[in-house]
Subunit: 313 residues, 2 copies
């Protein structure tokens, strides 16, 4: 069996002195700033398969899924802790995973400050805790969308789900979809930028799918969200159906609501900063839940409940 | 399948408003204080069995194992995040686990501020991240033991391992040992108290066993630790052999080094505060590693390497 002390020794080198005690000590936040913290779990054959996730893909995805949560608050990711449980036949994979994880962290300025390594019987388990920092005034919540706000998506819709289907069913699928599933890019810079825009009333990331995540935002804000199917359709590539756009998860884009009078100017500055466009998909009204319009008329759309990747396999 | 939203709804009620966004926002630390953070992983059939761990036992243990890390830094535990992955046939167990976890947290003044719930294929997986706070000057490290310091243990040695053996081999074993394994008590108050004592030069918790953890403390301090077998023996109950005391893990006591001239007074005040005694087991010298003496002469003791519970099953 792999020695826990050996792994910890290797991680210590990459952790700039954080690892080595029972707990890591967090540096002080900058004045006026706050820490935000989130945690995700990744399980073999539920969230990933080692047959098509290389250890570097898994490191990228486990990290970015967490950093996406931090970015969705308007915060800058700074630290992670990584818990990993390793079956005896996957020790090499796990060591390469940890090597990739520390390398990717170094590249993006995130420091691994702690964790836990244990044995596992038959599946690899990874759990990452991520910490970020933001000026208190920049932190965005789900519960503050206002009636009349426009709903915008940052990033692609349905790409990761198409990649997932391609990999699971061995279909010929464009690498852009495959990569969206294997290596989603957390919208880190975009999240920090949007956190700094007072006209953004609420923000969250899209992890489980546009429909269910928008429903959460609406519920949290005690408002009703209307998706304009014509607008939504206009943002999709030919391979992405409306259903995949609504139900497909794991794209890790951002969902934001913006004061309607301010959107044009914000949208212009966003494109100027990031080289791609915000996608307007609907608006917020009084009420609850999510509904649809098409040709300016109410539309009935049956949305399947998305639960977890593991249940779709 | 259990609905993630339903679980999150229940947890929200217990989380005093922390849960509901992509990440939880940490309150500011008190002036002069620092946050400390640690993370542990618990896997079914590696760290626990549902056959003899009730859901409440598991909640207690998963929590206390983490709080022990916080206490070992001299800090007060304040917040946790809990990641849990639930196989379909253990949903009731998992819901009772989460109910117990929130109840125990409330009892000891710890707040659940976030986490992740997912499906699992066949084993329950729990990962807890714990955060605590301490005055900066009180934080204790492993690397600061000094030549001449006496080595002390706070808590029992070998109790949890005897309980583990009793449960695994269906032996008649005293409930005090069984409970030590199923429900170890993190030395929270003791850790905070010891953090406040400048004569305590280093501190860590004993999670993997006295020998291996003392070796880590010595290595971190770049010193040599000597265990006096007569002293150690004097602290053991008749059922606990020297080998079980040295190699048995999961007692979650504390290991501290104390300036020799200050120990008598510290020991007196400790007993007065907590109603039980510190156990002196050895001293720190120059060199490296851990060695033994018996009748004031060097003694050769073969210590088996302890790795993980999963490998001992």
């Amino acid at each position: 069996m792999i020695s826990e002390d050996k792994i910890i020794q290797d991680l210590k080198t990459a952790s700039r002195g954080f690892i080595g005690d029972d707990a890591a000590i967090l540096p002080h936040v900058n004045p006026g700033n706050r820490y935000v913290i989130s945690k995700d779990v990744f399980i073999e054959d539920v969230h990933f398969r080692t047959s098509y996730f290389t250890s570097a893909d898994l490191a990228h995805k486990a990290l970015h899924v967490n950093l996406s949560d931090i970015a969705a608050m308007g915060a800058e990711p700074l630290y992670i802790l990584c818990g990993i449980s390793i079956p005896s036949n996957e020790q090499d994979y796990a060591i390469r995973f940890l090597d990739s994880l520390t390398a990717i962290c170094q590249n993006i300025g995130v420091t691994l400050i702690g964790g836990d390594t244990t044995a596992s019987l038959d599946r690899l388990f990874v759990s990452i805790t991520a910490l970020g920092q933001a000026p208190e005034a920049n932190i965005k919540y789900r519960n503050a969308s206002k009636v009349g706000d426009l709903i915008c998506v940052i990033g692609n819709l349905g790409f990761a789900h198409l990649g997932f289907l391609g990999l699971e069913q061995s279909l010929t699928t464009s690498t852009k979809y495959i990569n969206s599933f294997l290596r989603p890019q957390a919208k880190i810079k975009e999240g920090i930028w949007l956190g700094n825009q007072p006209v953004v009333s609420s923000m969250m990331d899209i992890s489980d799918g546009l429909y269910i995540d928008l429903k959460r935002l609406a519920s949290s804000s005690k408002k009703h969200a209307v998706i304009d199917m014509d607008w939504l359709q206009s943002h999709l590539t030919p391979e992405v159906s409306l259903h995949i756009a609504l139900e497909g998860g794991e794209d890790y884009g951002l969902l934001v609501t913006v004061h309607q009078d301010s959107l044009e100017e914000l949208s212009y500055r966003f494109t100027e900063s990031f080289g791609y466009n915000l996608k307007i998909i609907g608006h917020i009204t009084n009420g609850e839940g999510v509904s649809f319009t098409e040709d300016n008329k109410p539309a009935e759309i049956i949305v399947n409940h998305f639960a977890h990747f593991g249940e779709r396999l």
